[in-house]
Symmetry: C2
Subunit: 500 residues, 2 copies
Amino acid sequence: MHPATPTYDDLAAHCTRLHNFQHLASIAWWDQAANMPPKGNEARAAALAELAALMHRLRTDATLAERLARAEQEPLTDHQRANLREIRRDWRLANALPTELVQRRQLATSRCEHAWRSLRPANDWAGFLTHWKPVLAIAREEAALLSQQSGLAPYDCLMDRYEPGMTSATVDRVFGAVRQWLPGLIQRVVERQSGQPVIEARGPFAVEAQRALCQQVVRRLGFDFQAGRLDASTHPFSGGVPEDVRMTTRYRADQFLPALMGTVHETGHGRYEQNRPREWLGQPVSEARSMALHESQSLAFEMQLGGHPGFARALSPLLAEQFENQPAFEPGNLHRLLTRVQRGLIRVDADEVTYPAHVILRYEIERPLIEGLIEAEDVPALWDAKMQELLGLDTRGNFRDGPLQDVHWPEALFGYFPCYSLGAMYAAQWFAAMRRAMPDLDARIEAGDWDPVFDWLRDNIWAQASRWTTDELALRASGEVLNPEHFKAHLETRYLAERG
Amino acid sequence: MHPATPTYDDLAAHCTRLHNFQHLASIAWWDQAANMPPKGNEARAAALAELAALMHRLRTDATLAERLARAEQEPLTDHQRANLREIRRDWRLANALPTELVQRRQLATSRCEHAWRSLRPANDWAGFLTHWKPVLAIAREEAALLSQQSGLAPYDCLMDRYEPGMTSATVDRVFGAVRQWLPGLIQRVVERQSGQPVIEARGPFAVEAQRALCQQVVRRLGFDFQAGRLDASTHPFSGGVPEDVRMTTRYRADQFLPALMGTVHETGHGRYEQNRPREWLGQPVSEARSMALHESQSLAFEMQLGGHPGFARALSPLLAEQFENQPAFEPGNLHRLLTRVQRGLIRVDADEVTYPAHVILRYEIERPLIEGLIEAEDVPALWDAKMQELLGLDTRGNFRDGPLQDVHWPEALFGYFPCYSLGAMYAAQWFAAMRRAMPDLDARIEAGDWDPVFDWLRDNIWAQASRWTTDELALRASGEVLNPEHFKAHLETRYLAERG
C-alpha cells in the first residue's frame, strides 16, 4: 500500500494536465513541419502561443512553491521522490526568469532567426551582427540572473537547461583531452583511408524507393509503427509523444545515404521515446534524462550501429531490392562509404571522427561570449583560427559556412552544442559496457542479431528515464560516470585497427 | 471610429482564446483520422478530453452572464451586435445542460457507438437495443430540459443545435410536400433512365492516379492548396481551420467515382470554410451559418455542379489523362453515370433524387421517438413500412442495412438528419437565384467557366457567415426564405426534361 500523499498526488495530477496539453503542442508542431500549407502559419502561431501562455501560467502558478514544500514532507516511495525532484526542477526552470525577459528574448530571437534565413545565403556577417548583438545581450542577462539564483557559473546555467548537472569544469576536462589527440587522429585516419578505394553509389534513387527503404530499416531497428510514423520535412526531427512518435527525414533523388542515415539517427531518438516507462507517462520522472543522453541514443543507432560492418551487411540486400543493384552496394564497400572520414566546413555533414572538432570550436567560442570575455565581433577571427587548428581548413570571409551555419546562435540556444559530443561519448561508453557484458556482441551484430543492443539500451537507458541523475544513471549502466576514453578507443578501433 | 465598448471587447478576446484552442482541437482531430497510428489513441483521447474540459470551463465561466448583459447595453456596430447575438447563442448552448448530464451522455453514446461497430455487421438489433435505449432516454431528458428553458418543442430544441431557428413545423411542411411527389418522380426517372444505355467505367484505377485526379479537380473547383490539404481517411470529412482546411476522401482501386465525388462534396465544405470573412476570424459571427447551409455548399458542388453536363465535359479529358482512355469517359456517358438514379437501402450511397426519401424516413421516426410517441422497439417495423412506401424496398430482418446503418442514432445526434435534405433544397434555391441573375449561367458552366457560381456563393453565402439569421441570409441571397419548389423544379428539369 502507498502511504497517504495528498499534496504529492495533487502535484502529479497537475503534471498529467500539463502533459496532455504538451501532447497537443507536439502534434501541432509536427503537423506544422510535415503538413501545414503556408497560409496556415499565422493562425497556427497564434494557437500555439495561446497554449504556451496557458502552460506557462500553469507552471508558474503561485501556489506551487508551497505545494512542493508540503509534498517534500510527505512519506513518498523512492520513485515518487525522484518524480518530485524533477517536478521541482521543472518549476524552477519555469519560474527562473521574469515574464518580461522571456517575451523580450522571444521577440529578439524571432527577429534574428528570421533575418538569419536570408543573411546566411547572402554571407552577410555585418548584417547578422545587428540582429545578433541584442540576442547575445539578452542571453548574458539570462545567464547572470540564473547564476545569481543558483550559484552556478553563468554558462553552466544555460547548459544545465539541456544537460542537468553538467558543468563547464567537466566539459573543459573532457573536451580538453579530446583536443589533444583529435587532430592527430583525424590526420592518421584520412591518410589510411586515402589508400582504401571506395566506389560511389550512382543515382538517381527514386524517392518512393528511398521511402520504402527507410521504412524497412526503421522496422529492422525495432521502431514500432503501431506507435509512430516516418514522414518528410525540410528539417528532420523526432517529435510527437511516446505513444505516437513522429520522425521525419528529407529525401533528395541524387543520394540515398543522407535520408537513410538521418532516419537511422531519428530512430534512436524515437525508440528512446517509445520505451519510456509506461506506468509513469505524464510525470516528469518518465521524461528522457537529458539532451546528451538523447543524442547518445541517436548516435548509438547512427554511428555505433550504422558504422558497424554488420549494418552494411544487413543493408546491402535491402538496397539491391529497392534500387537496381550496383557495385557500391557490396557490403565491404558500403561499410567504407558509411565510415568515410572527411574534413569539412559544415557540422551537420560531419562524420563521427571530425564532428567533435566542430563542437569543441563552438564551445570554446560561446562560453567566453556568455562570460563577456569576448564580443560578437570577435567570433569570425576565432572561428578561423580554431578551424585551422582543429581541421586545417581556411574559412576566412566564408561566414555562410562558418559562424552563420547553425540556427542555434540566432535562437540563443547557447549551451546546447556540447550535448552532441557528450552524446557521442556516452554512446561509445554504452557499447563498451555491452561488450564487457556480452563478449560475442560484435559477432552477433555482424550476424544481423541486434536485439542484444536494443535490450541493453532499453533496460539501462530507456526504461530508467529520469529515475536517476545522469551520473548515477551512467554509473548503474556502465560502472562509471562519463569517461571519454571509450570514445577515443572506439574511434581508434574502428578507424585505425579494423580491417579496411 | 468605433465607440468605446470595453465589455464587448473583452468578450471578443474571450472568443479569440476559445478559437485558438479550437484550432488545436481541429488539427488533432484531423491528425487522428488521417495519420495517427493505433497505439496513439488513448493518449490522444486524454489530451483532447483535457482540452474539451478547459474549453467547457471557459464557455461556462460564471461571469459571462453578467458580461453579456453589460455588453448588450454598449453602443455597438451592426456587425458587433450580430457577433454578440452569436456569442450569446454559444453561451446558451454551453450552459444549457448540467455537467452531470453531459458526462452521462458522453459515457452512454461512447458505449453505444462502440457496441454498434460490431453489432451492425452482426445484424444484431436486440443487442443494439440494450445499448441504445439508455442513449434514447438521455436524449429525451436533454430535449425536455432544453424545451423547458426555451419554450420550443423538444425535438426542435435538438434540431436548433445544428440548424438555428429551424422548427419541426417548417420541416413538416417542407418534407410533407416532398413526400407527395417524390415516390412518383423517382418512378418516372427510373423508368426513363432504363431506356438510356450507360457504359460502366472499367477498373482497376491506380490509387496514385486517383489521388492526382482528385487534386486536379479540387484545384479546378477553386480550392486554395496554399491554405489546405486533401488526404485520405476511413471516413471522409472536412476539418481543420479556415486558414488551413483539411479535407479527406477514401480510395478503392475498383472505382474512382466515389472518391472523386466525395472529394467534390468536401470541396464545397472546404471553400465555405476558406472564404469565411477574414477580418472576423476568431469571432462567432465569422462561423458558417448552419449545418444545412454547410450542406447546401457541399451539395452545390457535388450535385448541382457535379450533375451538370458541363462538369462531365470538363472531367472527361482529366480522366483520359490520369487513366487509360475508355468509352465510359465520353462526356455524355460520364454525365449519365454521374446522374444515374437507383433505389437503394443505404443513405450515404444514394443519388440526389432518392436521398430525400432516406432523410424523410429518419425524420418521421426520430421525431416521435424524442417526443415519446413511439419506443425504440417500434423502429424496425416503421422503417420497413416507410422504405416500402417511399422507395418500394423490403428491408424486413435486414437491420444492418436498415436502422443500424448510420452512426447518428448511436451517437444521439437526433435532429441532424433534416439538415442534409434542407441543404439540398437550399442548393437548388441558390442555383435558381443564380440563373435569374445570370441567364447564360448554364452555357457558361457548360463551357467550363464556373467562376460565376463560385463568385455568387462567395458573395452571398461564404462572406456572409453568421452575419444574418438563416432566413434573412436566404432572403438577401435569393429573395425568399427556404422554398422547396426549387428543388423539385431542379430534379424535374435535370431528370425528366434534360436531353438524355
